[in-house]
Each structure stands twice: as C-alpha cells, then as structure tokens.
C-alpha cells in the first residue's frame, strides 16, 4: 500500500477513534484534475448526517445507520454528485467523489436584497462573485480591496497611498453622482458597515493617505463576495444604493465536522523603487536631479541633487549609508478554528499583522553630522489585529439564529507624504530653493522623521444578529439587526524642537462612525398551476448613521513633552467639531414569476424616506423590472457541449440622498476676534431637495461551454442619473460661498463588461486556466443645469477636472499647447479638453496553473487606459529646475537669459521679462513649443498645462507560486501549503510622475503631488490545517 493510501486510512482511523465500532463513511473529494477539495458538503439526504471536507479533501461521517443510502457531495461552484452506498454494520465504508466545476452555477443562491436571496437563474442582472478559493489565490493581496482590484469587471479602485492600512476608494460602473459620492454600500453578513473614507488627516498637510474601515476586512476571513453593480440590481436597497452593493460573507463553521484549525504565517518585505521598467535608459526621475551627472541613481536616495544651472542640494539628514529606502518587514499571522455539533456551528479567527514602510530614518544625518538624533522607531508602520466569530444555532429545524461579530484593532503610523510641506517626499524630491523641511536652505527631511509622527489608533466593532424562520415550505422570513462602530483617534505630534514647529504641536482628530441596521424581509412562494411559480417578497429596512469628527490642537509646549495632553500647551483650540446623523427607512415589495424554471420575470418597488430630504419632499419610490431566460434548459439547446446559457435583462432605479444640511438655508457659528459669538453664512438651502435617481438598463448573458472550460459573462448597460444633485456655485457677491446642491442635472454612464475564463489544459498533470476581464466605461454629463462644475483638485485651477455638459464625468480641461511640435512660441488654448479622468477601458489578465495538483502558479495583471491625471510633482520640479525632461530647455533658457540668469536663476527667472533677456536665443529657438510651455513657469510666457497627462499603464499586480506539501510531511497536519508571492513587480507606463496610480487622494481626477508610489512586495507564507 502506497503512502497515498496509508495516510488517509490512518487519518480516518484517528479521526474515527472515539466512535470505533460504529458504522462510518469516509473518503476523499477531488476535483476533475485530482486536486483535493475542501469545504465540500458531504451528506446523507434526509438523515441529518453530514460533514465538510477538510483541506486534504477528506471527510468522515460517524454513526451512519446500516443500510442503503444516497450520499451527496456538494460545493458552491461545482456540480453536485450523488452515490448510492450500502453500509454494513460495524464497518467503515470508503466512498470517494470527483466533482466537476460548475462555472456558471445557475442554481446557486445569491443575495438580491430580499430575505434569503434568489437562485442565480432567476436573477436578471449581472452579479460578480468571488469565493474563498479565488481569494486564496491572491496571497499577495491580503486585504479585501487588493483582492478585488481588477478581478471584477466594472469595478474601479483608486488608492490614496500604498501604505498598509490606507484603504482605497471603490466605484462600480463609474461616477453616477457629481457630489454625493459613488461609493457602493457594503454589507458584511447582512450588516451594513461604514465603508467610506474617514478623513483623519491633519490640517497643514504631511499626510495624503486616507483611512477607510474596509481596511479591516481581510481576505482570509471571507467565504465569498458578491458584487452587485448598478441601480438595476440594487433597487431593493433604495436610496444610497445607486453606487452598487458589495456583499461580504465571512467563513462559517459546519455541524458534525471535527474541529478544524487553520493557521497561516506570512513574512516578507515591501520595497520602493521607481515603478517604471527602465531605470537607466529613458528614465525620468532617475537622474532627474543630477543634471549632467550620469552617476545619479534613483529618485529617493541621498545623492546630492544638481539643478539645471549646477546648484547642489543634498539632504543634510540623509542616513549614513546614503539611502532612505530600506526594505520594510512584513509579518502576518492568521489562526482559524471552525466546527460544530448538533445544531450549533462556530467559526472563530484571530489575526495579527505588522507591516512597515520601506523608508528608514534610523541613521539620520549620521553620515554627515553627529548633530542629528537617529529616529526612534520606524518611519511608518501598520499593526493590525483582530478577532472574528460567527456562530449559528438551529433552535429548531425551522428556526436559525446567527451571530457574527468582529473586533479590529489597528495602529497606523503614517510615513508623511503628499503635498504638505512636512511631507517626506516633498523635501527630498524638490531639492531646490523651494525645499520644504529645510535647514540652511538644504532639504532636511529626516528632521520630520525624527521630530514628528502621525499615528492613528483605530477600533472597529461590527456585529450582527440574524434570525431566520421557515415555518412552512412556502413562507420564510428573516430579521437582522446590525451595529458597526468605528473609532479613530489620530494624533499628529510635532515634538518641541521640530524644524517647522519649534515650540511643538499636537493635532488630535477623533473620528467616530456608528451605524445601525434593521432589516426585516419575508418571502411567500406559491405556484399558479403546474408551470408557473410565484415568489412574493416584502420587507422593511432602516438605517441610521451617526458620524462625528473633532479636531483639537494644542501647541507651544513649555518644554519637551514625550506625550502631551490636550492641555499641555499654552495655546489650545478646538478646530473642528462636526457631527451628522442620517436616517433612512423604507420598504420594498417584489414579485417573481417563473415559467417552467427557465423563464423568470421580476417586478419590484422600493419606497424610501430619508432625514436629508427637504421639507417639501416626500417619499421616494424606486421601481425595477427584470427577466432571465435560461435558454440552455430548452430542448433544442446543444447542451452536450454548451451546457449553460442565460439571457438576462433588467431595468431599475436607485437613489442617492442629498447631504444632511443641504435642504436648509443655514448659518454657521463663528467667534469674532473679540471673542464674541457670531453668525457667518453656511448653506443656501433648497427645501425641494430630493435624492438623485439613477435608472439603469442592463442586458447580457452568462454562458458555460465544454464542461465549464469556457465561461463568459457579458453585460452592456446604460445608467442615467436624473435629478442629479449638481452643486451650484452661487455668486460670491451674494454671500454664501458654499455651493448649493439642487436636483437639476442628468448624467449618463454606459459601458460593457466582459469576464471570460478559458481552461486551456485540464488533466491530471496540468490544470491551466486563463482569464480576461474587460471594463468599458463612457460617461457624459447630459445636463448640468447650465453649470460648469469644477471638480477635483483645485489649487492650480488653470487645469483641473470639470463636469461640463457633453463631456465625461469628470473631464479634464486645461491649457493645451496647440502647436506643441513647432519650433515657435507656444500657442495656448486656455480651456482645452484633455480627456476623461477615469480609465475608459480596463483589462484584467490572469492565469492560474496547477501542476501535479501540488504546484500552483498564478499571476494577475491589469492594464488601464484612457485616464488623464495631474502630475503636480512634475510641475513642482519644473519650478525647482530639477525636472530632467526640461533640462535642455532650461539650458537654452539659461543661455537666453544671459549671465545674470546663471548666477541667480530664481530671481531673474521670475522678475526679468523675456523681452529683456539679453543672451543667446539660438538654442531656445530649437526648443519645441510644447517643451517650452511645459518647462517654463513664467505666467506671462505661458501658463503651463499643469502636467495633466495620460496615465495609461500595465501593472503586474500579483504573482504567486504555491506548493502543497506532501501529506504527512508536516506532522500533525492535514495539509500544508507554502506560497511565495510578489506584488507590483512590473509596471509599464509612459507617465512622467512618481507612479501612474499615485495620488494625494483617491478621487478622480488623480493628482500626483509628491505622492508615494506603489510598493513592491515579496512574501512567503505557510498555511497548515490540522
């Protein structure tokens, strides 16, 4: 007997030890390619006897009555199989199964907004679904957001920072709201969570990263994710759902399964390099600061920077070894246990992770002076821990209670970056006469490392209770209550002696978000004759969100204070105190008619009220209508090779509520310089304000061919937002400066989504799949009420995002050089159109190959095209004359200005008009107009186009190599898998700035303003189950 047979046999004996002597059934469940399948439900129908397979695919059923039974094996994503077995008294029966992937899963239950959900075949909209297996392939992407990136068609994700703990912004099918945000609603086990950005950044800059509680959701805890895109699918979620819905389901235990443990440990490091592929040839930042110096290396090291006229700037606080960049260690641990008994199941997990930022100030200045104190502690880190529990109790066969709860604790030390003068990326990168943190005019970024720190402490409690009752076969109902608490305490501390805050300063921002969810739904199933089925659903949902943000500042400490209190300094101010409460309540009713289980027609209506609606505005009704037609169930269908094909169509409305104060004309309080309380204009108000209404039409199909080897999901959609809330800027001469939202606009998004998976090879040797995801998006502002709405970063308003009729939402306009290639003075079109600010088409490419069931390689890359973003880093470097693409032009300019310009470039640059330049113009005359415009900052000569440029890129987001160790190699385990992962290893782009995805916030249009580029990450992890 080979060890392959001995081990399972022994394992089965061991597992069965407590009940030796009784009849039992054991075996192993494998995929078509021989890969052991975990979490397969193996059960004897009608007996209450069942179990889930473990990581090695094994299962064990105890105390099986002697006799003949039907044994079934089922798992989501696979076609279920059954076997007739005969159990002999006192003996153990071995029954193995092989499951085929059911790529389409028409009978899987998905969540649609009603209690309990619906079968995939009944649903007329596209629903993307990722299960634990797919998420498990993303070892390099431990967070939910990273795992989703590029995996779901129609999902756009933007990061505010690559630092762990900086959560992204997610948008589905583009921006369908001007001012109300486009974030989807996020539900975790039926409980809505606060899943928007929480601004805990201090005023005064230094931090461009933003926090989003989504960062607390880890891929290891997730059983599956359903992404519902667009109003046609989210109608039953009502107001606020027009941005789509993401449903997250965490892992559950199973009754009658021996306790199963799973532990994962990962270690690795982040590092930081210019993401482009070519560091020496056409490099942009490499050597950007080393004019005429081919030895210049890197863009963030301690090599002295030389401007176009030879001025030398070196960071006097550079570490002794000459480089700020140091690999930052990563460690992540996760432990899960699940099981159950009788009517009780449980799944409990705990995690801890610690990730640094690949910048190091521990040797600050030691190479240049002993004056500087090395950094105490790390420049930045994210320490994340938490526990999660999911418990289910079946009080009776018809009554189930589920309680899910999680606690997340997180400490984040931000490495300062972004536009702020204290940004660590600002000072070293500028290197010129405008350097930010300076001593004697020299960049001294290390001082900020050592004298300032920005620490967020976060806590999240997410808990939900769900009671499901199925009193009869035709009626079921469900009640769920949820609560989500997010607390962030952010402290931004400048110690006494800080180069920019010599007397010290503490900015404390306390943020709190509390959300409460109440959801009741019921379904009534009947039949109207033999062929027609009917499901009537109704429910009521209420949601309350309370947020509060306070900002305290204390400064001018009497002396060095290790950890100040809010009364420790001479000046204490409350800089902000904002609290908002919003309540939304509504009900829905939905009717589904089915014909012979292959045609389904669904009609529904949602009615909502919202505390933010104006006094002159009543309830809002959102209708929906959808149909699905499973053609592959028809007799004529060639189901032998084309097993599944579903056509679907849907139309539906959803909404987006206005801001809490938008309806009321109001004033804000202000304290005069004499200390007296007063009033200043707040919001203009609009009593007829209501929600935006987005209506979407969607048509598409789902197909599965050749035994699931080819699967496709194709969808085309058009969504139109009526009554769009357009922020109307009142004339400042009328006193109210805050734009007032009014229901005056119409926006439109249309596009297509394709998800195609092909199984190239499927045999016992190799299982190789490739997949492509394509998202096409075209948006247009059809009507803005005549308004042209500036949108996005506004400091340099010459070029920026706009929402204008007839253009994408938002579009980028600015100063375009119309004769860029000519050897002439630039001709500037001051309000030229660049393009869309978002990717108009995104491609995701993935491949997954398993060899001999043990060795798995997968990779995922994303290609984004069509977006324009602002490279303000480039613009700032031009001002500092340290932007290498401009060096020839600056040389020519230097010659043209004459000798004075060479000795005092900044003053002559700014103060001497070009008409008075006295040098040699010949070289300047050879500079094309586009380069002249880009490389000069003289307002009178031109207004530089502020460096909006296409930021198309391809990025290899993740590469994973996993090896499942032979069974028994690690004693005491059922399975062990070793994985090596890499993230962001390659990037191809023509973008000039730090990183095509770098931005100071996660909005469109992007603005790269000394923003931190993506980290390259390498990890090794070991997962064992026992």
């Amino acid at each position: 007997m080979s060890h392959r047979r001995v081990i399972p046999f022994v394992a089965a004996l061991l597992l069965a030890a407590p009940s030796l002597g009784a009849q039992q059934v054991t075996g192993r469940v494998l995929s078509q390619t021989g890969e052991p399948l975990a979490a397969v439900q193996v059960f004897i129908a009608g007996s209450g006897i069942g179990a889930l397979t473990q990581q090695n695919g094994r299962y064990l059923l105890l105390n099986v009555p002697a006799g003949t039974h039907t044994l079934s094996a089922q798992r989501i994503g696979f076609q279920g199989v059954t076997a007739e077995i005969t159990v002999v008294a006192g003996e153990t029966l071995v029954q193995d199964f092989t499951l085929s992937e059911e790529a389409l899963g028409l009978d899987e239950i998905i969540v649609t907004g009603t209690a309990g959900g619906a079968r995939q075949r009944e649903v007329g909209t596209a629903v993307s679904r990722l299960d634990a297996r797919e998420l498990g392939q993303m070892r390099a992407a431990p967070s939910l957001s990273q795992a989703l990136q590029g995996q779901v068609a129609g999902l756009m994700m933007t990061q505010s920072s690559p630092q762990a703990g900086a959560a992204p912004h997610i948008a589905l099918r583009g921006r369908n709201s001007v001012n109300q945000g486009d974030s989807p609603l996020v539900y975790v086990d039926g409980v809505r969570m606060y899943a928007r950005r929480a601004d805990t950044r201090p005023s005064g800059g230094g931090i461009d990263a933003q926090y989003n509680p989504l960062a607390h959701i880890k891929a290891e805890d997730i059983e599956r994710i359903e992404v519902v895109r667009g109003p046609a699918a989210t109608t039953l979620y009502g107001t606020e759902a027009s941005g789509g819905v993401i449903q997250i389901f965490t892992r559950r235990g199973s009754a009658d399964l021996p306790t199963q443990w799973s532990a994962t440990g990962s270690a690795g490091f982040h590092t930081l390099t210019w993401p482009g592929p070519d560091r020496t040839g056409n490099s942009r930042f490499d050597g950007a600061y080393t004019f005429g110096n081919p030895d210049g290396l890197g863009w963030f090291n301690c090599v002295d920077r030389v401007t176009s006229i030879g001025q030398v700037y070196g960071d006097i606080t550079c570490p002794a070894d000459g480089d700020w960049v140091k690999p930052a260690l990563i460690q992540r641990y996760n432990l899960q246990v699940s099981g159950g008994s009788g009517g009780f199941t449980y799944a409990i997990s705990g995690r801890y992770g610690d990730e640094g930022v690949p910048l190091d100030g521990s040797g600050i200045g030691q190479g240049r002076s002993s004056q500087f104190q090395p950094l105490e502690g790390r420049v930045g880190y994210n320490k994340d821990g938490g526990v999660r529990g999911a418990f289910t109790i079946d009080f009776a066969p018809t009554l189930r209670a589920e309680w899910t709860s999680s606690l997340s604790l997180n400490t984040q030390k931000w490495a300062p970056s972004g536009a702020g003068s204290r940004s660590v990326f600002n000072a070293p990168m500028q290197r010129g006469f405008r350097g930010a943190v300076q001593v004697d005019g020299q960049p001294a970024a290390g001082l900020h490392f050592s004298q300032g720190e920005h620490i967020d402490k976060r806590r999240q409690v997410l808990t939900g209770f769900v009671m499901s009752h199925i009193p009869t076969s035709y009626f079921d109902h469900r009640l769920s209550v949820g609560y989500d608490l997010n607390v962030v305490n952010a402290e931004h501390f400048h110690k006494v002696g800080h180069v920019m805050r010599p007397t010290g300063q503490l900015n404390q921002i306390d943020f709190e978000a509390r959300t409460t969810t109440f959801d009741y739904g019921a379904n009534l199933r009947t039949s109207l004759g033999e062929d027609i089925s009917s499901t009537t659903s109704a429910g009521f949902q209420a949601y309350r969100e309370f947020t509060r943000r306070t900002n305290y500042r204390v400064e001018d400490f009497p002396g060095p204070v290790a950890k100040p209190t809010l009364v420790a300094g001479a000046v204490q101010t409350i800089r902000a105190d904002e609290s908002l409460e919003v309540i939304n309540a509504g009900g829905y009713v939905q009717q589904v008619f089915g014909y012979k289980d292959y045609f389904f027609l669904t009609a529904g209506l949602r009615v909502d009220g919202n505390s933010a609606f104006g006094s002159g505005f009543g309830l809002q009704a959102y209708p929906k209508l959808s149909a699905s037609y499973v053609l592959s169930d028809m007799a004529f269908w060639p189901s032998d090779w084309f097993e599944s094909f579903k056509l679907r169509f849907a139309m539906g409305d959803a909404g987006k509520a206005p801001g809490a104060f938008d309806a009321v004309r109001s004033w804000s309080s202000i304290v005069s310089g004499d200390g007296e309380g007063g009033f200043t204009p707040g919001a203009l108000g609009d009593p007829d304000l209501g929600p935006e209404r987005s209506r979407e039409y969607e048509v598409g199909f789902d197909a599965s061919l050749y035994g699931g080897r080819i699967t496709a999901e194709v969808t085309a959609y058009r969504q139109t937002t009526y009554d769009a809330l357009i922020p109307r800027q009142g004339a400042p001469s009328l006193g109210f400066l805050t734009p007032q939202s009014s229901n005056i606009g119409t926006l439109q998004n249309q596009g297509g989504e394709v998800t195609l998976n092909v199984g190239l090879l499927r045999n016992r040797l190799i299982d190789w799949d490739v997949g492509v995801t394509l998202s096409l998006l075209e948006s247009e502002a059809l009507d803005t009420g005549g308004e042209q709405i500036p949108y996005g970063f506004s400091r340099f308003s010459g070029t920026r995002g706009w929402i204008r009729e007839g253009y994408p939402v938002p579009a980028v306009f600015g100063m375009v050089v119309t004769n860029a290639a000519e050897l002439a003075a630039p001709i500037i079109e001051t309000d030229g159109y660049f393009g869309a600010s978002y990717p108009t088409n995104s491609w995701g490419f993935r491949t997954n190959m398993t060899v001999l069931n043990n060795l798995t390689f997968n990779a995922f890359g994303e290609w984004q095209r069509g977006a324009f973003s602002q490279c303000q880093t480039c613009q700032r470097m031009v001002l500092n004359q340290t932007f290498s693409p401009c060096f020839p032009a600056l040389h020519a300019q230097q010659q043209y200005r004459g000798e004075d310009a060479a000795t005092n470039p900044s003053s002559s640059f700014w103060t001497v008009p070009m008409s008075e330049w006295t040098g040699d113009p010949s070289a300047w005359n050879q500079i094309p107009a586009g380069i002249r415009a880009m490389c000069s900052a003289r307002p009178e000569d031109q207004r530089p186009p502020r460096y909006y440029e296409k930021n198309d890129f391809f990025r290899l987001r993740s590469v994973n190599l996993s090896y499942r160790l032979p069974d028994g190699l690690v004693p005491g385990t059922n399975a062990a898998t070793l994985t090596l992962s890499g993230a962001n290893l390659l990037t191809f782009t023509e973008y000039w700035g730090n990183d095509p995805e770098a931005r100071i916030n996660s909005e469109f249009p992007g603005n790269d303003y000394h923003s931190m580029p993506a980290f390259k990450t390498y990890t090794a992890s070991l997962n064992i189950t026992f």
Binding site: S369, F540, L580, G587, D608, S672, G673, P732, S733, W910
Partner: protein, 425 residues
C-alpha cells in the same frame, strides 16, 4: 387548510407591506436634529443683533487676513516666499483664476454681503434701529467692506449684479459710513462715530472729495484707532501665520531693509547702518543655529528679516486710525500745493510714534516722494498699500506698479456663477 394558511399569510404580508410604507413615511422616524445647524429665520430675533454684528466683524477680519502679506508682495513692497503663488505675486501677475485669489475675492464679497444684508435684517428686527449701537456697527462694517473692495478690486460687483467701476464701492461705502455716524451719534457711541468718520474720510478722498475728507479726518482724534480683531482662541480668526512667519514675509531687499540676499556675509556692525522706523518694525533672525552650517552663513544659522508689526496670531490689524487721518490731511494739503501744511501734518503723525520731525521738502516733486514714504509707512501691512500705489500710478506720481497688476480682477467663481458677468468669461 392549506388554502386557509396561504390566505392568512398573504394577508399578513400585505399588512406588513402597509406597515412598512406607513412606517417609512412616519415623520418621527426620520426626524433628525443635527448639531450646528442655525436656520436663517432664527436670526430675525432682535436679541441676536450682537451676534449678527460679531459675525460681520469676524468675516471682515477674515477678509483682511490673507491679503495683509499677500498684497505687500503684489504691490512690490516686500519679498514674499513660501507659497505656490508667490512667483506670480512677486512679478505682480494677477488674473481671475488662481484659487487663493478666488478665495480672497470670495471672502471680500462675503464680508460685504454679510454686513449689508445684516443692515437690512437689523432694519427689520430692531425697533430702535436709528439709535442702536449694533445698527451703527453693522453700517460701519458695510462701509469698511466696501472700502476694502474699492481699494483693491478692479470692478464693483454688488449682490450678483453687473460689473461697475470700482469707485462705486466708495460711493456705497460713504452712504454706510454716513448712516453709521448718524446712528452712533444718536446712540452716543463715540468709538463707532470716530471709526465711521475715519472710513468716510478715506472714501471721500478716493472720490476726489478732499475737502469732505479733510473735514471728517479732522474730527478723528490723533490717538484713535479702530481695528480688525484677531484671536488665537478660534480657528477662523487667528491672524494668518504667514503674516509674521519670517519664512514667508521678509523685509530683505525691500525699502525698509535694503539688505543683500541670504548668501551675503553681513558685517558685524550691520545694525548701525540702519535707521529703524517704528512704523515698519522688522528684525533679523537666525534659525536653527548649528555649527554644522557655519561655513555657509554667519553664525551657522539661517538668516531672515521678518516684520514684527504682527508677531502673534492675536495681533489686531488697524482699519482706520488717527495717524492715517493726519497723513490723509497731509495729502490733501500736498494736493493743494501747501508743502508747509503737509509737513506739519506729517510731523504730527510722526510725533505719535516719537519720531523726529521732517524738514519741509524743497519742491513739490520732493514732497511727493517724502509723502509717499510716510503714507506707506503709516498704513504698512494694513491692506492699504496696493491701492495707494495704484492710485498714484494712475496719476503719474509713482511707477512702482509699472508692468504689474494695478487691481484685483473679479474672481473666477464670480464670473462663472454671475449671469451678469457673461462678458468676462
């Protein structure tokens, strides 16, 4: 039995739906009172008159705040650095677009609208409007905000109207000052009365009514001062740090401190070469004295020449004062060719600062140069100098603004949002 159960269930579900819709429309369920909301109607209560005026004061201080340093740079008086716009300001470039200038325009307009709309509200709500000090203050702020706009903006745009000549603000401001003075007199409030006269004197002068200006100015006591208050206790009313942070505003290379750039070594007795003017105080400061940098700068520190007229975030900015009135009268005398009278008045003003008297200039041309220096020094960093340079340039008496902006264009947001300004788009 099954039929009965189904019927019962359908009734239950129908009842649930009705209950749901009823509940969702329930006013109490959706009733929310959020903190911080002050509804417009509540300001009509006469007891809030002091708070309405306090808001005017706050918005006026906010309107002045960024421009104090910004406009010395625009008007080429001092060197300002540190912000992204400084280059454009240094070369005197102004247009509709740059956002901080939009904010400046907006805050000027907000201050003007708040004051004038507050006057109208108080007329309705105060039964003793004609003799109420708060009503007098409201008119005073309406006057000063109009003066601020008239002195700095290229055009007058009032309450969403069309663009008018900037001098319109002086006409409107004069009416408010007149009403403020009348009400203050009726209320027996000398402080507001003198401030109103000081404000009216200036706007009368800018309209060419120098006799009227002199009449008003003569009634303002020499030691009188009306200020825009600032306080570090609040967020919005702190004096902008960059007004006094030497990294941003430095006297280096200016008419007050004609020093060489940073890299030049200073002689040990450099202080002896300068006569310090108490109206334009500045100092020289080293930052971060560190031996590491000794080879590069004197003493190893980073040298700067900050102004010290304002040194904290609590410092108030003079809006009108007795010294300014004396100088205004001196200008009127100069325009009459009365060089002796001008000298006398200037010396009265200098005496307020314990400064030595000036000799009488020998010629009118010399007198103008002397006068311009005295005027600029007297109202230094009070947001007045840009106007002085612009009006003198227009009269051919000064060329400092040659090739530079002379006034502040209408803000882009105003142009985009005001249908009466279509010609500016």
């Amino acid at each position: 039995m099954k039929t009965y159960e189904k019927t019962r269930m359908r009734v239950a579900v129908a009842g649930l739906v009705v209950a749901v819709f009823g509940a969702s429309g329930c006013g109490d369920l959706l009733e929310v009172t959020n903190a911080g909301l002050i509804e417009d109607e509540s300001l009509n209560d006469p007891t809030f008159a002091p708070a309405i005026v306090a808001g005017m004061s706050a918005d006026f201080s906010r309107a002045l705040n960024p421009g104090i340093a910004q406009f010395v740079s625009v008007s080429a008086f001092e060197i300002r650095s540190g912000l992204s716009d400084q280059g454009e300001h240094v070369i005197g470039y102004l247009d509709h677009d740059t956002s901080d200038r939009q904010t400046t325009w907006d805050s000027w307009q907000r201050a003007r609208w708040v004051a004038s709309a507050g006057v109208e509200r108080l007329k309705e709500s105060l039964s003793n409007y004609g003799s109420n000090s708060h009503a007098a203050s409201a008119n005073l702020y309406a006057g000063f905000t109009n003066r601020l706009l008239g002195e700095n903006a290229c055009h007058a745009v009032i309450d969403g109207g069309s663009a008018q000549p900037r001098e319109t603000h002086f006409t409107v401001g004069e009416a408010y000052f007149t009403e403020a003075a009348q009400i203050a007199q009726a209320a027996g409030n000398d402080d507001i009365y003198h401030a109103a006269l000081g404000g009216r004197a200036s706007v009368r002068a800018w309209q060419g009514n120098w006799s009227g200006a002199v009449a008003d100015a003569s009634m303002v006591p020499p030691g009188y001062m009306f200020v825009a208050p600032y306080s570090s206790a609040g967020v919005q009313l702190r004096m902008w740090e960059e007004q006094f942070n030497s990294r941003y505003l430095t006297m280096m290379g200016s008419m007050w401190a004609p020093m060489e750039p940073l890299s030049t070594e200073l002689p040990d007795n450099w202080e002896e070469d300068f006569v310090f003017d108490p109206r334009t105080p500045w100092s020289m400061t080293w930052f971060d004295p560190n031996p590491l940098f000794a080879p590069r700068t004197r003493g190893g520190g980073w040298r700067a020449w900050p102004q010290i007229k304002y040194t904290t975030r609590d410092d108030d900015v003079p809006v009108t004062h007795g010294a300014e009135m004396l100088v205004l009268r001196a200008e009127a005398a100069l325009r009459q060719g009365d060089l002796a009278g001008m000298t006398t008045l200037l010396n009265e003003s200098r005496a307020l600062y314990d400064m030595d008297p000036l000799p009488q200039p020998a010629s009118e041309a010399e007198a103008w140069e002397v006068f311009k220096f005295e005027r600029v020094a007297t109202v230094w960093l009070e947001h007045r100098g840009f106007w002085d340079r612009a009006r003198w340039y227009a009269e051919g008496r000064d060329n400092l603004l040659e090739g530079r902006a002379k006034c502040f264009p209408i803000g882009r947001r105003e142009i985009d949002s005001n249908p009466n300004l279509a010609d500016f788009r």
